[in-house]
Structure formats: structure tokens, C-alpha cells
Symmetry: D2
Subunit: 310 residues, 4 copies
């Protein structure tokens, strides 16, 4: 359902939303499991929209780099799927987890095959497979993000990666557990190093809205070359809609109605297939790990513009 | 993404699909827990598309009434939501279950609040609330289906309702269990009677495609009056996409890419918001309770027409 | 390990324990799910010891009848095992549950076979089977308790049975759930009526200590006739030790070191094989449903006398 | 219940059991997850009984060293409990798990506190704490076993320890997982090295029956010095009875009726408090990881002698 006229410009909508968010009382709390995230002011807010041709609109802190965290899982999924195709789905499922994002329970009942590529266990499998195919999964990701965003200064945050590693026992447990089922190829320390670097990428709303453009363009990259087939692009969007926001995918679909992927750094990207991509950032999280102001801003965006997949 | 031109007619697409399905080897097995379903030939197949204005196209057994079963859960949800509004969501969630459709496990961990309105426990809650508000939930449903489909001969199948009741210990367990948490108002035998009658409605693909039209028309009924607000219609579609096909919602979103709801009678309805509704029937089920030929036909439909929400 | 000399009399030990319990500060809270139990003063306390020959010692409220509740599960188990033998174990397990006493989770994972005869689901199975064999399971139980205790005035409490029935949705859910797996023979309302009457038996510590004597006498009843074989008596004691105190069987074994069975009425029975039986009553419960003063008194008894199976 | 007269000698009983076991048809399969265990002939059999004064009786391969594996968990538990006392129980529970021995599920629901010291997770916690207190947990264990058995040639099997380490992903997952909850002190690789060495100890039935003697002697070591208090010894026996044989503790209590601990190498030790200790070995395992002939032999022993705690 696209009510908005094609000629409408997004800038006034973004400014209206920023005003409303400014007056929003609660904002949740920034993630506090590593110092770099805990230091973020939960009231900061930025939002960007990128049209298919690369035109970007923005408001607030939309050019401020932040820790992308789990948002990168969408990109590594696409990069591995482009190389490997459907074989990937023998190693990771595509069903919602119905459980918190780092649960070991389901993994045990399902013999080491994670439910989907966006829970941590599933993202470890995707990174492991991309690592096997490229020898440098995190580097491959960074190169792709730089190319699509047109921003060569995008980079890892070494301090964040080191912090994640120092608090990485849960992910180490997941990786060893799946390796015990034969579902991890690389040595666990190698995999974790790649994974923590991947999560540490710093990027702004503008960068992310541009970099995710291929999912709104049905698989085509910024330069017109094809990363994913039309069917694959549709499939990645479907997985984002059903699994992209941890244990709140139903709630997100209900409120926002777009494929989306969030990160504990407070960022969220969302896709309007055939129309545009959105990126929003505000570090305060709700109890399920999604940005409070971010979800509210996307909710308002779809309400104000009538843009929704439903 | 709507590739199909608005002037294109659906009839040739349906006929092509029917031909392909005809040559499909496996079809799964009909549900066998009650005699009336077990007697169905798993190779029967019908499909219908209804446009927003009520024009219907069809192929195969598209006018043959079959047992709608869980498909009715969409309609009772809409009927209760129209009356009750958001208060309903304090009694039933909207997250995918990540577990088989009649699981007690999650219900126990979440203190009697079912995960969503499309698992049996959630549907029992919805029927219970509609019963409290109307005094005759099943009658209300039947009246609505007759009005929207324009088919006054639609009716319950008393034999099916009696069979369900005779095999109803699992649903009785669910109802008593939720009542122990205070989440069921009516007496359990009264609720079960309403619920089994609701599931026993016989309708054809043509009937269902027409009856579900309000979800493609953003909440408006066939006569132009409003059942749901635009936002509510969008929300029901979102819940269908994330939770409508038992434990295979991710798979269905991935393959078909439309909000849909299946029943163990072999029927499935699917919504293309703003464009049309689809209904398909073939009694052979896969191991997760969805029609094998039905899912395949919807998959082909979206591939051939380019219609998808993604 | 029996340190106590055979000629030692239990009376001074019981009096010392009663004095210590008198000075114990906290006592927990009486069960409050039915009015008859909620009305009990949590500070009441009684304790009795019966020797093999029927000599009984007692202290405090040891002649006061109370609601025996789950303690009766030991007796129905023995009565059914005496009739049915090992076939019973195809319908109920004998492993600790590792979960709260009325959990549906494990029952679902294990296809309707309850973990052991002392969780509610398992007790329902035992009562169902005894009902099939006798036509009046509760009557059979009552006759046995009257005979063994020598107290013909023992009876059901009709008010308690009615209260249980009015709050019986959880047990109705369990029974319907197991019936859906074919593990319940009788109609659910018939079974529940028998079960709730069984739980409502009123008896005193003196009555229970005498009635449980057959488990200390390796299977022989008070009149010298045999109820269980030596092996069966040993087996019932083993199941009591590993499963008799809800989710605290390990803790009870650790602290008390005797086979025991508790009830939410605040009673506990315990067996010293070859030596004596104990019964204690105090209505205040801990968070796992066991009598606070009751467990403390049994702990003191085994410490003071050196009586323990370990 | 001790029917056997004190003057009776165990030798004829052991020989009768060995003869019966010789004629037993099935024996299960040796553990095959590491080569050293897989190479064992499942039909080998040995059994020993040690009286309180150190007199040992034996039959079959009773002097043949085998891989003790999880049997060592009893000894590290006692060694840590002797040092640390009840504080240990804040880090590991003492309830039966009701789940397979290396389950992560329960660990997650209970925030990193393992259910008991005999599942792998709990044993890792005990070894971790003993390591913190001694700096060499495995060395401490070996010294104790040598002293109690009077056999200075007892040693680790380096090949087995290396094999365990090579297949150690599941245990690494458990350790990292608990460390993420703050319930492991040492670095995971250090802990695993200690743990795998501990499991690799080679000992015979004679060695183990002697080494476990302190549990039959209410805490006193072979030289008369005290390792555990009388209460602690009783408590370790209680934990063995309720948790010592993986997911079959109820079954073991039911059949054998003694505190016992098994290992996947095919060994089992069992305690008759105040009377004697038993050790049996036969490498063929049942589906729950306990020696088939070992359990049968202990079952026969208690039946023939009337020795049982019940």
C-alpha cells in the first residue's frame, strides 16, 4: 500500500517526526554490556531515507557514525547468499525463533541448526560460511558497505571489537556448541574474531540507508550490477520481516509493517521494496533490544506516508 | 512489488498453474484425525482470485465447498478486533510461536497468554471474547461469511463439529489450562462448542476469496461499510504474515511473500493488499499442516505475476 | 545407618523437636488456593512416630485431622501396584521431574506419559487405573486407610473436594491432555471426581504414621497379610525418595535422607525401612509446597537419632 | 534393610553374579565418541566389593584398569566440599536434572547454575572451584585416589585426555556459557585441561571400591582421618542416589536401591552406608549412558544379599 505520491519529498516528513520524537518522554536505556555502547546518550536521534537513485534525506544525527552491531547481519547474509545460494539454508533456518535472540534452548532441540540468520547463532553460521568462501568475512563486509554507501572512511571500531571479545563467552558457547554438531567449519577463535569485527563497523544513518538500497532495488547494487536475484532479494526481505527484530518481529510487523533489522547500538534499517530504504538511530533500547525512539519513528513514518507492505 | 499490469486478467495465470499442479507428483496426506477430513482425495485442487470489486476468477474445484477449519481464525480475529479494539492484545500476543500450533509449552512459560491468535490456544481466546461480546460467536462468523461471499447457503457441517468434539481433548486441555490463569471467560464446554462449530464451516475457494476481500480493501466490507480501520486491516495482515501458517510462517513468507492463513482442511487464503485476494484448496498436507499443492500454487502465482509484498 | 539403639523410645526425641519448632521464627504460608486450606494456622504443629508393631508416639497436634492432599498419592500407588504390577510403569515413569509438580511441559515432550506417580499428572494416571480396576478408587483408598490406621472415622471432606473441583482447571487440563494421548481410560469428569475426593481425605499424624507402616514392614499390612512384595515395597520407597517432595526431592534427600511424601495441606510422611514411620504436620509451606516446620522437624529427627538410609 | 548376615562373605555372591552375567545376551554398545573407549570389548566384565576395613573381594576383570570418566565427579565433589563446605551449593544445585546429562536448556532457564554436581556442567563448576582452591584439581584428585586405593601406579591416560579435548566443543560451550553468567572463575582452556585430565584417570574395580570407602565409613578415610563430616558423607550419598546415573536416577534407585555413580567408560560405583562399597565395570552402555551389565550386576547383588537402603 503506497499512498504517498511518487513526487512527494521525504524531508518534511522526517522533520515532523524528529519534532515528535524530541517531545517523546521515555527513551529506554543504552546497551550496557560494553563500555562503548553504555557511553551513548539515549536521547540522541537521527533518521535518513534513501531513494532508489541514491538521493538521501536526513534529520538530526543522521550523519553521525554509530555502532551498527546486528544490522550487519543483513549484509553478511546477502553476501553469503550471493555466493552460496540455497545451500546456505541447510545450515541455518528461516523461521522466527519465538525466543530471545541468543537462546541455546532451540539450538539444542534442533541439533545445532539455528532458527534463522538473525539470531546470534545463525549469524555466526553465516559469518563462518562467508569466512570459508572468502578468507576474510569482515573485510568483505567492509568493502561492500564502503562501495554501496560511497563512503571510503567507513571502518571497524577496534575498541568495540576488543570489548565484545572480552565479553564474548556467550557467543563462544554458541560457536562451540554448533561446532559440536558439525555446523561450524572454522576454528572458534578465528570465527569469533571475524564476528566481533563485523559487529564493530561504525556507520551513519546515511551510510546504512544507501548501503541497504540493493534490497529496495530488488537485488541491484548502486552501480547497477546485480548482487542478488530478484527472488533472493525478496527472500531476504521476507526473512527480515519475520525475524529481523529479535523476539519482537511480530510487534514490529504489526506496528511498522516493513522488513527491518535492528542492532543493540540503537540503529534500525527498514526497506520499502521498490521505493526507498530507511535508517534510524537512537541508542535507548526497550527490553527486547530494539531502539525505542527508532521503532516509534518508523511507526510514525509509515503512518504519515501510508507506506507499508500491507 | 507489483509487476503485473492492472489490466491483466488472472484467468490465464490460474489455468497455467492448474496445469502445473496437475503434473506435480507428491501431494502429502489429508488430515486423518477426523473421518470427514481423512475421506478427502489429496489430489483435488481448486483456486480462486477475487479482485477488489468482487470479480472472481477460478480454476479446478474452485466452487467446491470444503472444511475451512483454521482459516476461520482470521475472520473471528477481525470480528472481535472490530468490537474490542486493542484491549484484545492484553489477552493474546502477536509474536510467532516458534513451536507447533497446539503447543502447551509456551503457554505455560507465558502464564496462559497465547503467543498469537492463530495458534489454537490464541484462537480459543479470540472465540471466547467474541462469545462474551455477542453471545453467539459461531453464528456471528457465519453471518459475516454469508454476507461477504454473497452465498446464503454457507453453513456449519454438524458432522465435522461433532467429530472435532469427540477428538477435542487437546483443545479442552488448552481451554482449561488458560482458564486456570483467568484468561477464559466462558464455561469450557460452551466455548468448545462455539469453537468446533466455527472450525466446521464449509466454504469454497470462491466464497473465501470474496469473504477475505476486506483485508485487501484496507478494512472495507463488500457493501462499502467499514469493518476495520485502515490501521487494523494492516495489522491483521501483519499477523497473518508472521503467524498464519503454523510453524512454517518464515518459510511461507520466504516462498510466497504474502499474508496468508492455512487450515488442516487443505485450504489457504492469501492477501495482496490493495489488489486482490487468493484462495486455494487441496487436501494433501505437508508435515507442518499446510496444503502441499496449495503452497506450491501460491508460490507459482507470485512468481508468475510478480505480485508480492516484498 | 541406624545409630539409635533399638530399645530407645521416641517420645523424648519428639518432645525435644517440638520445643525447638516452637521457637522457630518463620513458618511459611498456608496454601491459599482453596479456602479450607487457607484458613489453617501456619504455626500449628504435630508429629507422630509409629513402630513396626503399631506402637505410636506423638507430640503437639498429632491427633488433629488435617487435609492429607498429595500424601494419598503414595497409598493409591501402592493399591494399584498391588493389583496391576509392572504394567503400571508403561503408563507412568519413575524419574524425578526436574520441574514444578504440575508442569505440562515435560508431559508434552514425553507424549502424555507423566514422569512419575507423584506429580499431579502421574497421580491422575494412577487414580484412573485404580478406578478402572475397582470402580471406586477413592472408596478403595479410604477403606485401606481406615483398616491400617484402625480409625473407622476417617473420611473425605466434602467441602474440600468441592473446592478443589471448583479450582480444578489445571487438573482438568492435565487429564484432557493425557487423554488426547490415549493415556487416560475413564471420562475426565469421573476421574476428576475420584481424584478430588481422594485428595480430600482428612487424617491425623497418628493415622498416617500407622497407615504407612506397610512400607516400613517391607510390604506387610497391619494384620500381617501382604499388600506388596518385598521388592515392590522397596521400589515404592525408592520412588518416594527420588520424587516424593515435588521439585525439592534432592534437597529433601540431602537434608532428611529418608523416603518421604508431602502434601500442600502441610503434612509429610517419611519411612525408615525396617524400623518405623514418621508423620508430621504444620500448614506453613515453603515456595516449593513443602511444610517448612515439617521438613525442619524431620531434619532434626534424623540428626538427633542418626536414623537415615545413607 | 540388611538381610545378609555380617559374617557372610561376598565372594560366592560375586561368582554367582559373574556366571549369570556371562549368560546375559545383550550388552549395549561401548561409547564411541573417542577412539580409546570405542575400542573396548562390550562383553568384558569385572566386579569388586570392599568392606569397611579394606578387605576386597572380586571377580572377572576386577583388577583391569579402565577409563573412570564421570565416576571421578564423586571424588572431586567430596574434595571440594571438604575444603569449601556449604558455600559450594550457591554455585551448583542438588536437584535431579530430569534432562540428558549435558543439557544446556536447564542451565539457561536457571541462569548458569547447574542442577547438580554430576551433570557435566555441574562437574565443571566443582572442578573450577577445586582448581581455584588447590591450583591443580586433577593432581589433587589423583593423589587422593592413589592414597585411598593404596595403588601408587594409578594415573591419567594422556591419550584419552587428548581425545576428550579434541571432541570437547560441548564442554567448552558449557564452560563459556556458565562463565557468561559469572559462575566459572578460571580461564576456560585451563579449566577444560583440568577437567579432561580428571576424566581420563585409569583405575580398576578394586581401586575404585577402595577409594570410595570413605562414603561407606561416614566420611573417614582409609587411614582413619576424616575427609567429610558425618553429615557431609550422608549428603554426598543422597546426591548420588538422586542424581548419580544421568537421566536414569529414578530407575537406578528403583532397581538397585543404592547411592551410585556411573561413567561412560562402563564403570559404576555404589555405596552401602556402614557396610561396604561396590565397583563394577562392563563397557557396553544403554541409551542413557549406563553400563548394561553393570546395572544388572548391582541389581542382582542387592536382590541376592537383601542389601539396600530401602
Amino acid at each position: 500500500m503506497v499512498i504517498m505520491s511518487p513526487s512527494m519529498t521525504f524531508q518534511p516528513v522526517l522533520e515532523r517526526i524528529a519534532g515528535e520524537i524530541e517531545r517523546m518522554p521515555g527513551r529506554g536505556r543504552a546497551a550496557d554490556y560494553i563500555p562503548a555502547l553504555a557511553a551513548c546518550d539515549p536521547r540522541r536521534f537521527g533518521m535518513a531515507v534513501a531513494e532508489l537513485d541514491g538521493t538521501v534525506y536526513g534529520v538530526g544525527d543522521w550523519r553521525q557514525p554509530f555502532s551498527t552491531q546486528s544490522i550487519t547481519k543483513v549484509f553478511t547474509l546477502a553476501l553469503d547468499l550471493a555466493r552460496e545460494g540455497d545451500e546456505l539454508w541447510e545450515h541455518v533456518g528461516r523461521e522466527p525463533s519465538g525466543n530471545p535472540f541468543n537462546s541455546l534452548v532451540q539450538l539444542e532441540y534442533e541439533s545445532g541448526i539455528p532458527r534463522n540468520p538473525f539470531i546470534n547463532a545463525g549469524a555466526l553460521v553465516v559469518t563462518d560460511r562467508l569466512q570459508t568462501r572468502t578468507g576474510d568475512a569482515a573485510g568483505e563486509l567492509l568493502a561492500f558497505l564502503r562501495a554501496e554507501s560511497g563512503n571510503p572512511s567507513l571502518d571497524f571500531d577496534k575498541e568495540v571489537a576488543a570489548s565484545e571479545s572480552a565479553h564474548g563467552d556467550r557467543n563462544a558457547a554458541l560457536a562451540h556448541f554448533m561446532k559440536s554438531y558439525g555446523n561450524i567449519d572454522n576454528e572458534v577463535p578465528v570465527l569469533l574474531d571475524q564476528y566481533f569485527r563485523q559487529c564493530s563497523v561504525m556507520a551513519s544513518c546515511a551510510d546504512l540507508a544507501l548501503a541497504a538500497g540493493f534490497l529496495a532495488r530488488h537485488g541491484s547494487r548502486a552501480d547497477g550490477s546485480r548482487l542478488l536475484t530478484l527472488t533472493q532479494a525478496k527472500q531476504v526481505n521476507a526473512v527480515m520481516l519475520t525475524c529481523g527484530t529479535y523476539d519482537a518481529a511480530g510487534e514490529f510487523a504489526y506496528r511498522v509493517g516493513l522488513p527491518g533489522k535492528s542492532g543493540v547500538g540503537g540503529g534500525i534499517i527498514a526497506i520499502v521494496p521498490g521505493r526507498c530504504t530507511l535508517a534510524v538511530w537512537s541508542p535507548g533500547l526497550d527490553e527486547r533490544g530494539n531502539s525505542v525512539a527508532g521503532v516509534a519513528a518508523l511507526d510514525r513514518f509509515t503512518t504519515l506516508t501510508g507506506v507499508s507492505v500491507f
